[in-house]
Symmetry: C2
Subunit: 300 residues, 2 copies
């Protein structure tokens, strides 16, 4: 069947595009190194027209995008909508950057201490996961999406009722690249990773605990090549200790949504705290979310 | 009187040198942009001979150094000594890199969760402050030295009995320069600084709280130029909330030792938590410490 719509998960670091036929079946798909962090201001529309559309034979198709492309560093800012949010709220609130190109809104909710919290893209992934798993649509679910900024979403009876972000992925990246903790080790020293998890405590006093990544080498004789793994464990351990508690859901089983290697690290951290965790594929989830929104919007 | 000894506080970012006469009076002084972070491996000795000594007319003087110059990225590694430590322990444990050049040892103590903690240079500054303030030599004192890595020292009856480090300064620097939180604002928006202090909570859940520095701009309408001040408040607030508690000294008055502007930010953060704080000049303190060690060692 001919393609009917182009859907894209357009995030900070990459763009994943699919064309779908009228039945929602994938006709073509491709990944592009066009994450919004790599784009110059104002460049998104041109790269979309010149590269993404032609590569998929989608010059004339309506298009639905989600993710950081709707932020102030993306194509244009798609306004946030407030939680609680279900799939049809998203479909109703698409932001038209052109007559035939829509961006899904980001979500906003009350965060820590009266501050607001925001996300973009994770709503489509989480609700897409629900679309794939009808059995999870009733009751409460705690979904964690590891990433540059991890997102923990509380879903009740099919609606995202609140969420909480953590700066973990970006903090690991900047410390590994630009601080005294940078080194030539890779992030695959399981023993150092578990030592980092143990050093995370209850997620308190992170500034003090961070220094142990330096002092264990400078004064404790640990190999400097193990610093990345230790740091990864320390940060993930701190995140999984603190975040469910802040949400009042300590001990709730966690659905991990995303790339398998990252989710495995979180599952290990949660397991050591006695929390059950199960992984689901992030790409399948976001595709299901985009497909469902396109269908609700009458594009399929 | 002629100069008798050359003493240097040689840290990560700069080198401060003084020549002293036999009575301990300063003959000459100079600051050099030769912090060990800016030196190539193996370069310290040559720069010392070619630039520091001649600039102060100190070619033939014995020299005493303290600080990061004794670390693995300095001249040579001066072994750590374990707490508790008094001034004469330091003087007894100088590390000779040449017949007439000594480096003060760093200190090591038990840190968080059985890890070790380390410092270099802060011992000389803290004990020098004590040398200048005889009234503080009995009883317990909590001394905080803000910096790239802040150090909180517990002093009892003139001896450093333990200490705890925090990664605060370096974390602020790498986030301000290399993360999504970088921006063109300066760090002098008092309102944003205090909002950051308030957002620090009890120093828990820092990964989640860090994200509010992003979401208050992206979703809350705060000016992006205020991010640096907010971040500074958030990190300092988290440090002053967590560290005294970890040391079991919550509520103890704090002596802040270092540059006035940095210490003022810490004093504000402590004051909001009801903790009394008093500032003392860091440069005068480290000079007094180096002078006292030189005297104990018979160089004066």
């Amino acid at each position: 069947m001919a393609a009917a719509v182009l859907v894209c998960d357009w995030g900070s670091t990459s763009l994943r595009a699919w064309t779908l036929d009228a039945a929602g079946k994938v006709v073509a798909q491709q990944r592009f190194p066009l994450g919004v962090n790599r784009l110059a201001p104002g460049e998104a529309a041109r790269r979309f027209d010149d590269e993404v559309r032609p590569a998929l034979g989608a010059e004339a198709l309506p298009a639905l995008l989600c993710g950081a492309i709707g932020s102030n560093v993306g194509w244009r800012t798609a306004p946030y909508i407030d939680c609680p949010t279900a799939l049809d709220d998203i479909a109703r609130s698409l932001f038209a950057v052109r007559d035939d190109v829509w961006i899904a809104p980001g979500l906003r909710c009350e965060g820590l201490g009266g501050a607001c919290d925001v996300l973009r893209g994770e709503e489509t992934k989480a609700l897409g996961w629900l679309a794939l798993n009808p059995g999870d649509r009733s009751g409460r679910r705690l979904v964690c999406q590891p990433g540059t900024h991890s997102k923990w979403l509380v879903i009740e009876d099919g609606r995202i009722v609140r969420f909480l972000s953590a700066f973990t992925g970006e903090l690991f990246a900047v410390l590994s690249e630009h601080s005294i903790l940078r080194n030539d080790g890779d992030a695959s020293d399981p023993e150092a990773f578990e030592a980092g998890l143990a050093a995370a405590g209850d997620g308190d006093a992170l500034l003090n605990r961070l220094y142990t990544a330096r002092s264990r080498v400078a004064g404790g004789g640990a190999a400097s090549g193990s610093t990345a793994s230790y740091l990864s464990g320390l940060l993930i351990g701190a995140e999984v200790a603190a975040t469910p508690r802040l949400l009042g859901l300590e001990g709730d089983p966690v659905r991990l949504l995303g790339d398998k290697p990252a989710c495995d690290r979180y599952a290990l951290a949660l397991g050591l705290r006695g929390v059950a965790a199960r992984h689901a594929d992030g790409e399948a989830a976001v595709l299901a979310g985009l497909t469902a929104i396109a269908r609700l919007r009458g594009l399929l």
